[in-house]
């Protein structure tokens, strides 16, 4: 198991898990209007399956919100 940070919350995930599975595990499977960055680098949806999480990764998952 490794530790990562998801939206600034600590999470424990299986070693070598990919992003698709991780999002599934965190409950984001149903959501389409989200996007992801790891360590402040954007990860495209098409890259989720072959993106392997590493210990200490800081993952941002964002959704639309109002803005000025």
């Amino acid at each position: 198991m490794i530790e990562v940070s998801v939206n600034n919350q600590n999470r424990t995930v299986a070693k070598a898990i990919n992003l698709t599975d991780a999002l599934l595990g965190w409950g984001y499977a149903e959501r389409t209007a989200v996007a992801v960055a790891i360590n402040q680098v954007f990860v495209a949806k098409s890259d989720y399956a072959h993106t392997i999480l590493n210990s200490g990764d800081e993952i941002d998952i964002v959704q639309p919100i109002s803005g000025g």
């Binding site: 209007a33 989200v34 919100i65």
Partner: protein, 274 residues
């Protein structure tokens, strides 16, 4: 290439932003309204064809993002996602890419904040992020200062639109430095210039348009008005007034009074009055 549905006939005062034809010159933010219904009414009353929005972290169980997203989509406006809250070029570039994926648009209102006190753009980070994003295929709408050198550099990088501040975000102080804004207009005649941030009153928006600005972007002044829908309509009128004034050729101010009513034939004047 984008194309608005309600295409304007040629004789109207339409304009193009990165290839998209617009008839409205007021861009409006979607934040800080008392309710979603008020927001929708205000957007409609403003006549805006472009709305700004943003991205924030969400918990998986939250539905608020989807709901907001659907309510915005139903308005049929062009989306202009922002990178509000980013303090570095790296953050802004990542957020812009996330925006593009979600909102399916290559437009980005680029904010790289340089100071948390006045929320001003960081000229250095902004230039860096702009360069990266243009290489990535974005159409950048930079939120910038009124610094001519910065604006020139942004234009040189490929920005067709520049959005200098009028005053710090949310202050409603209007145009703090009209001279600087005038210089920008005079020196960058090809740029599409919008005043973004600091507009508090319709007369502020009108003044910017009188200077020859192409448009106005604002949020707080409408969303935080007592009656946002009424205020949105006020700003629509003010932008229209300022645009027409720019086209109509305003009289120059004079130092001395001058009668408007003809003086020839003024009654009661007689030789002995002399």
């Amino acid at each position: 290439m984008k194309m608005l549905k309600d295409k304007q006939s040629a004789h109207q005062d339409t304009w193009r932003v990165y290839g998209t034809e617009l008839s409205s010159r007021l861009f409006i933010g979607t934040a800080m309204y008392p309710s979603p219904a008020v927001m929708q009414a205000a957007i409609k009353a403003s006549g805006a064809q472009v709305v700004t929005l943003s991205l924030r972290r969400q918990a998986p169980e939250s539905q608020s993002g989807d709901q907001f997203w659907q309510s915005i989509q139903s308005m049929g406006c062009e989306l202009l996602p922002n990178t509000a809250g980013c303090h570095t070029a790296k953050e802004a570039v990542a957020l812009a890419q996330m925006s593009r994926e979600i909102f399916q648009t290559d437009w980005i209102k680029l904010e790289v904040i340089g100071d948390d006190y006045n929320l001003q753009p960081d000229p250095f980070g902004l230039l860096d992020a702009t360069e990266q994003l243009i290489k990535l295929g974005f159409k950048v709408f930079p939120y910038c200062t009124d610094d001519l050198v910065l604006c020139q550099r942004l234009q040189d990088l490929g920005c067709e639109v520049l959005m200098p501040w009028g005053a710090p975000i949310g202050t409603g102080k209007g145009l703090m430095n009209p001279y600087a804004l005038e210089v920008l207009r005079a020196r960058l005649p090809e740029a599409k210039l919008l005043v973004d941030a600091g507009i508090g009153k319709p007369s502020d928006a009108c003044q910017a348009m009188e200077l020859g600005y192409d448009g106005i972007l604002l949020n707080t002044a409408i969303a935080q008005a007592l009656a946002p829908e009424t205020m949105a309509s006020a700003f629509a009128d003010a932008v229209s007034a300022g645009r027409k004034a720019f086209h109509g050729g305003m009289m120059p101010a004079r130092h001395l009074a001058k009668p408007s009513t003809p003086t020839l034939g003024t009654p009661f004047w007689h030789e002995q009055n002399q």
